[in-house]
Structures are given as structure tokens and as C-alpha cells.
Amino acid sequence: MAKRGLLLLAVSTMLLALTQGCAPSRKYAWGNYDSTMFVHYKKPQEKEAYLERLKQIVENAEAEDRAPPGLYAEYGYALFENGNPKEAIGYFEKERAKWPESNVLMEKMIRNVRRQQETLGTSSPAGPAAGQEGTR
């Protein structure tokens, strides 16, 4: 069983190297963003590990000054879900400053997180979308 898992890992790594090796170098410092999201969807219960992986990607991207679109916002949301609304707002603001296209959504996120903090004090997060806006 363990052997098979190892083989699987080796083969998929080789395939990944093959499919991505021939691609030209990337514009942004994504790190292992796609596999981080994949693992997050595979094991959604591992919230802290997901947060930690995103943190690593953010740090590396900032060191290279090539942060991809959406990364700060995704990290901000993970922080919020892990009960850290203050830092979450900081990253929503970062996203908005770097990417003006995110302005409408980030304004909304910041406003909703603040509102929730005011009404609930510092209790556990539920979700920042609960607002007046509906999609239908």
C-alpha cells in the first residue's frame, strides 16, 4: 500500500514536471498555489495547514515582489475563517491596493468583517457575505 502510494506520488510528480517543465516561466510567483487549493478541497478539515501553506506562498511571492492576483484576498479569507478578522482586513486592503479590479469585492469584505466584529464582538466567524446584497 505504502509502495503504491510512493509510486503514485513519483509518477504524478514526473507528469507534473513534464506538463509544466515545457511551459515558459510564469509572470507571478504562484509557488504551489494550485496544489495547495487541490489539497484544501481534498481535505477541507485541515484549515490550519491550508492557512500555513498560503502564508508560505504569500511570503515567497512578496520576497520576489511578484504576488499573483487574488492571493492576498484568498489568504485574508483563510485568516478570517481561522478567527483572525483583524489580519484578514489587512490582507483585503493589500489586495485592493495592488489590484484596483478587486475594489468592489474587497470593500464589501472589509465592511462585512468590520460589521460582524462590531455586532459579535470577537466571537467565532460565520461568513462575511451575509449582507444586504443578494445574487438573485
Partner: protein, 223 residues
Amino acid sequence: MKRSSIPILVAVFASALFSGCAATVPKKDYSAFKAADPHSILIVPVVNRSVDVNAPDYFLSTLSIPVAERGYYVFPVDLVKHLLELDGLADADLVHNADPLKLCSLFGTDSVLYVCIERWDAKYMVFTTQVTVEFDYQLKDCKTGGVIWAERKGMVYSPQQSQSSGNPLADLVAMAISAAITKGMPNYMPLAHQVNGQVFASPKSGGLPAGPYLPDYRKDYDQ
């Protein structure tokens, strides 16, 4: 005399080759795309028409990078997914059937990318496993709600074809091994990455034109 005729011959062959290719791949009309001129793309959750319940989330994880690398602002897919769930659109089918213009104003995006998984399956044979994926992509404009770019692409992976060592016995062993591996848990991800890479690559092959964050912006499609 003889020497100079060679380059001409080569040129004739080359042009025959090129025109031959061009004839088989019909050119896409990018006029609607040009008029819309999107700067940002909202990737909404993926609709699943395969039997694999995990496929939509797994595939969603592969989309941000190739789209953003084409020079567009791409919204954070996981955050978007959660917001939609909290707004009562937990099901991707509901999202795809909702009014695109409402999604647009909710997120402040220029365009929305809708992706459907048509195929995501594995066929088991004696010595190999054939893995097949197929996706349907549609980009809708937020000014009109109309489709400004669409593509459908599938790909088949069979370890048998790509791993020939020239030694039949060794090949047989390799096949048996890879069949066992893929039987345990077929790995669709490399194939999914490859399809995305080809689909979004360049308007020359029907892909996405370069967005505002690329130097090729407004230059890489035919007038």
C-alpha cells in the same frame, strides 16, 4: 542553380504546410471580445457532468493560474465559492443559471468564466488505464451578458502510448505497473493542467487574447 532551388522548394513546402493547417483550424471571431475588452475575470464554481463528485473542486484549483498568466485580474476562487454558498448559491448549476449581470455587480468584475466538466473518467483495460477529460469553457461579458469567448477541449491519456522504451518486455512490465497505479486512484490532474494550458494559451490557437497585464495586450489577435 541547383542550390538556389532548394530554399524555394522548402518555402513552397512550408507554405503548403502552413496553409494546410490554417484551413483545418477555422479562425475564431474575436470582435465581441475586443468590444468587451475585459480586464478582470470571475471564475465561478465548475458544473459537473461526470460521475466523479470530487471533479469540480479539483478542477477549480487548476483554473486560476493559466487565466491570470494571460494577463487578467482573476478573483480568488475559494473566497468567491464561499460567498456564493453564503448567498444561497451552493450549487454550481444554480450559479451558472443565475443572471450573469447580477454576478457581475455583486463582485465588480468585467467578465465571468463558466466551466463545465463534460468528461472525467477512467477506462480500465488489462495492461493499461485510459484516462479521459473534456471541458467546456464560456466567458461572458458583464456589459451585455453575452458570450465573448468559448472553447471545448478534451484529452485522453493512456500510459501505454507515452512510455515505450523500445524493449517489449520492459514495456509490458511498465504497463502493468502503471495500470496498477492508475487503478488504485486515477490521476486526472496532469491531464487537466495540460488541457487548460492549451485552451487559454494564445488566440492563434483559439485561446484567450493577452490581457492588460501582458505586453501583448491588444496586439496578439488579428484585426
